[in-house]
Amino acid sequence: MSEELLAHYRQMQRIRRVEEEAARAYLAGKIGGFLHLYIGQEAIAVGAEGAIRDTDYVITTYRDHGHALARGTSARAIMAELFGRDTGISRGLGGSMHMFDAEHRFLGGHGIVGGHIALGAGAAFRCKYLKTEDVVLCFFGDGATPIGGFHEGLTLAAIWKLPIVFVCENNQYSMGTPLARTNPVDVAAKSVGYGMPTDRFEGHDVEVVMERLKTAVARARRGEGPSLVEILTYRFRGHSMSDPGKYRTNEEVEEMKRTRDPVRIARDRLAARGVSEESLAKLDAEIEAEVADAVAFADASPHATHTVMNATVLAPSLAYPQRFDGAYAPFTVDAASPSEGGR
């Protein structure tokens, strides 16, 4: 068992360290726009990955670095994306909120709250349509459960018995608003309205997350339909880098870090199970090297290009091979590489 936990610890620590470095790079002006960190919630992405197969699909919100890493996207490709580089997983066009990795069946980071929930159901529709055994894990926040997209996505998945697990990462806040002011009932209680089974548990223990999700995943894979799982968690950082976080006390945050840090909990358990401090330190050092390499790689990579940007507005077209009618051809900027970044 400690073998698997060790692997999970490694993944969580990678996510933690990649994001800590991303935060530093953000403050140094190397990353722009919104940066929503997953720090504190790592056990969910990693535990969930342990409950599914590589051939299953994952889709999530803008808080997506952890999920991409857990799926298998490299630290290099994530850091380069954050830096707006051509070597990024979305070639510098998507940024922090829009990591996409087709190879690892990661259907992306999505920016409009609730917008991706039906997309997850759509991927599950595909799995059923093609009679594959694949399932979909669709992640979203507590703040997404009041919006229409949530209701419609769950309703359709339920009536069509789609192979999907809806996972609410309830970190207690929707930006600055505590759950009590956004939802009339617990998220899990909403499952009744869709006739779905539910589960609700604390998500700072990666082994618990994995075991509990296995039930819902197995049900989906057996063709018995979707489930709604509410996992209680906490984000240790602000909503995004620009959030001063005045809506909660320092004591609350510190208490959560002290008692519910998924990375530390896993590390302590490994030690208790007899994994030596020496081998843990060695693992940590490997991760440090990987993260440093990712930053150096991102820094040295070429900037995102006009060529890729223009070529990805529309797919190669049967109906209209030239794709653009020429009036507003984006190709008027006749350089393959953009002007230097940063305004």
Partner: protein, 327 residues
């Protein structure tokens, strides 16, 4: 007169109108306890209480609809979208409910509502968070579309929007919030009428019509061109629907050239509408084709350098003006 930010000008407009009329209320995500995602509503919860400054869950279609229903029955809602990008999940209520109600009911139900929030690009927030929605909402009869470029206009136009009995789409420039400008004292209660363009700078060689984020850039370019002996007349329409083409035509008849500069994509929209009206009404006065400088016709990329190239900026504006002068 004193100098305040565009953000504070909006805040004052809301506060003054809420003080004047108890039926005016404010509703949206994070408008109360959080003091506004962009701090436009700072202090309003403390001033007016949670009954009138209402935090909503993320449910744009729901609270936009609640606003329209409340407006049908006599209240005067101000509905804030955290950004206009999120209005897309509520567009049915704006278009099918707010914009149609009066005529559908043969005049029985007025909809005195303001939908407001930050519009257009910010900084590197990517393709789903960078829409300039002016081209979308100006297409619908039954809505006014207002887009102030200065602090003074922001205040006077918002106060007017709140007092008017029609639904108003009120677009605020996200990048304009911190810009300062002269605004009359509160005691003056300045209201700015819709459909009255403002001549931001007088000139004689070319008319440049612009609003929103590029407004300040156009003024900078005009200053630079002045040094090169080119005199630009800069016009800010202030409201995109109704559109004051009279002021624009007067100017074009004097300068004989016209350039339109805007952030929404080039296909259609108020930019193309202005070009259409100018060519129809001032054809014989034109010495060159009416040109536009716009954002590039691609979804907004994340990378800083690309974004910088996509957003209409100084170089593109200058080149377009020079082109209209055959320089």
């Amino acid at each position: 007169m004193r100098e305040i930010t565009y953000r504070d000008a909006l805040n004052e407009a809301i506060a003054e109108e809420m003080t004047r009329d108890p039926n005016v209320f404010l509703m949206g995500e994070e408008v109360g306890y959080y003091q506004g995602a962009y701090k436009v509503t700072r202090g309003l919860l403390e001033k007016f209480g949670a009954e009138r400054v209402i935090d909503t869950p993320i449910a744009e279609s729901g609270f936009a609809g609640v606003g329209v229903g409340a407006a049908m029955t006599g209240l005067r809602p101000i509905i804030e979208f955290m950004t206009w990008n999120f209005s897309f999940v509520a567009i049915d209520q704006i278009v099918n409910s707010a914009a149609k109600m009066l005529q559908m009911s043969a005049g029985q139900f007025k909809i005195p509502i303001v939908f407001r929030g930050p519009n257009a690009s910010a900084r590197q927030v990517g393709s789903q968070h960078s829409h300039s929605v002016d081209a979308i909402y100006t297409n619908f009869p039954g809505l006014y579309v207002v887009y102030p470029s200065t602090a003074r206009d922001a205040k006077g136009l918002l106060k007017m929007a709140i007092r008017d009995d029609n639904p108003v789409v009120f677009l605020e420039g996200e990048t304009l919030y911190s810009q300062k400008g002269e605004v009359p004292d509160a005691s003056e209660d300045e209201l700015i009428e819709f459909g009255k363009a403002r001549i931001a700078r007088e000139g004689k060689d070319v008319t440049v019509v612009t609003w929103g984020r590029p407004y300040a850039t156009v003024l900078e370019v005009a200053k630079e061109l002045e040094a090169e002996g080119i005199s630009c007349e800069v016009i800010d329409p202030r409201t995109l629907r109704p559109l004051d083409h009279g002021t624009i035509l007067e100017s074009v008849k004097k300068t004989n050239r016209c350039v339109v500069v805007h952030e929404h994509w080039p296909y259609g929209g108020p930019g193309a509408e202005i070009v259409d009206r100018v060519q129809r009404e001032a054809f014989d006065h034109l010495d060159s084709p009416v040109l536009r400088a716009t954002n590039l016709d691609v979804p907004m990329p994340y990378a800083a350098g690309l974004e910088n190239d996509v957003i209409v900026g100084k170089d593109r504006i200058k080149q377009t003006i020079l082109k209209s002068l055959y320089r």
